[in-house]
Symmetry: C2
Subunit: 339 residues, 2 copies
Amino acid sequence: MIIDCHGHYTTTPPQHQGFRDAQLAALADPALSGPDPASISDDEIRESIEGNQLRILRERGGDFMIFSPKASGMEHHVPDPATAVAWARASNDLIARVTGLFPEHFAGVCQLPQTPGGALSDVVAELRRCVETLGFVGCNLNPDPSGGFWTSPPLTDPYWFPVYEAMVELDVPAMVHVSSSCNPNFHALGAHYLNADTSVFMQFLQSDLFERFPTLRFVIPHGGGAVPYHWGRYRGLAVRLGRPDPATLLDNVFFDTCVYHQPGIDLLLRVIPARNVLFASEMLGAVRGADPETGVAWDDTLRYLDAAGLSAADREQVVEQNARRVYPRLDALLTAEGR
Amino acid sequence: MIIDCHGHYTTTPPQHQGFRDAQLAALADPALSGPDPASISDDEIRESIEGNQLRILRERGGDFMIFSPKASGMEHHVPDPATAVAWARASNDLIARVTGLFPEHFAGVCQLPQTPGGALSDVVAELRRCVETLGFVGCNLNPDPSGGFWTSPPLTDPYWFPVYEAMVELDVPAMVHVSSSCNPNFHALGAHYLNADTSVFMQFLQSDLFERFPTLRFVIPHGGGAVPYHWGRYRGLAVRLGRPDPATLLDNVFFDTCVYHQPGIDLLLRVIPARNVLFASEMLGAVRGADPETGVAWDDTLRYLDAAGLSAADREQVVEQNARRVYPRLDALLTAEGR
């Protein structure tokens, strides 16, 4: 089977955004009361999925998608903790309804109620709720809740350890994923996302985080930002800094295939071992539509993958086995269904 | 001939750093007076170059290097304008002494006296001095003088236009180059440099800067950060944003070859037209020493280039003709020497 490890619910029924708008309005005007999450019917959810992610997944030959709330909508830069908790819960509850309606096609990954520099107790609580109660298989962790100002400590700082302790205990990985950019220097999709991927990998290279947490696992999306393209730079820097070769990180760090052209996918698979690459499209995500020159949808990454000349065994790792290994709770769900 | 467009004077005689240290000490303690630039003999400069950049350039078959002050040493985050001016002048004067001692091997690119959010009149004045008086052929422009907090407007903002007007008038390009990182999230060499390259390209893609300045030219170093690896992403984003294809930027934007492994160079040359790629090593720069597995120096990018299977005509563009076209004052210098 083919598992896409990186899909976002970017097509929620519009009243979900209405709830968010009302939240922000209440923050701006204390006379307003905090809203309740939107009322959305099962049919509305079915329609929003069947015509979009599920249709495209099937059309392209995919079977299953690891699904999380819209990344740019997480908006962790809004500093009010209660607002963050209510927004994350509402967004995650919608993901849970999708996985409940389409258990054969979707498993959940949660948004965490992060705020810039905020305490992490709410984050850990929501992670536990999503995994233990809603059956989610992972989380998205934002290394820059400020939204482009990078005011939090690096992901290797003890500040983050409470989250890691919960991840290890629950045996779930995190995808490193920033949200919207409030800094005009960084286009969210064209710079901020990729910069975060690059920066966090270098943070890992500088630290002994995985000695302390040997089973902690991160998926770095968007093909690892700039990292595979500059793998020689990281190898050389590791020597210069007296650090182990970056290959030693590959027990804990994985890359997805959200790279939207053939040369990029070819480089990724040439540089990074197949056991560390997870098939993903991010659809419906950063890019929409098709290359006018070829007619191939930008984010139809399975096309690039199938043209990359992988052995059958390596391809099976990339499209299925790695996801089942990195997300053991997904493997358990699928195994229970006899898949 | 083989022109390396990206070398830094990272091997200055130690009294130059002593001058910098005294500058910073005077800023910290108003009782101290501002120091004078260090006294350095011609022999000291010769020795610092002949045993390092010039030796390595020759050993690897190179002929010429476009040479600028140490990038991480520019330290534009120090906010005092007078300090920035004195530091840039001293650093550029040293580059001018190198080009005076070795005119057959080096041409100068200047450090600009930028400060976070500071006025650009000093920047323009130093650019003019370096080009008109010292014979420099280009400049390094830092899109983030804050050193990792990105508090300045994007490079497409009118804030920067005075610099661009001078660049156009003088017919010199800028290499986009940040300096040290004061933000622990960003390792300077492993994240901040690459993030800047990526971010600025996306800024260009979002704007009409080159309609306003049709002859303005930028070299984006380090192989363009993440950009060539994600070229399909940029093409797709351009469609989504209603912007022209990123290929339309290639009259004004060029990439160097500071990518330190064969797969990265292969991707760069597969994706970016040969006329937009300038040979460079950045030595002595981010990486030092050789890959223990192959014995090849990490930054011996000519080795990768020569193994990339370019046609002879394309190789000549990359190693010489593009540099002469992008840096017309370099071409004039070389032509005057009959080269």
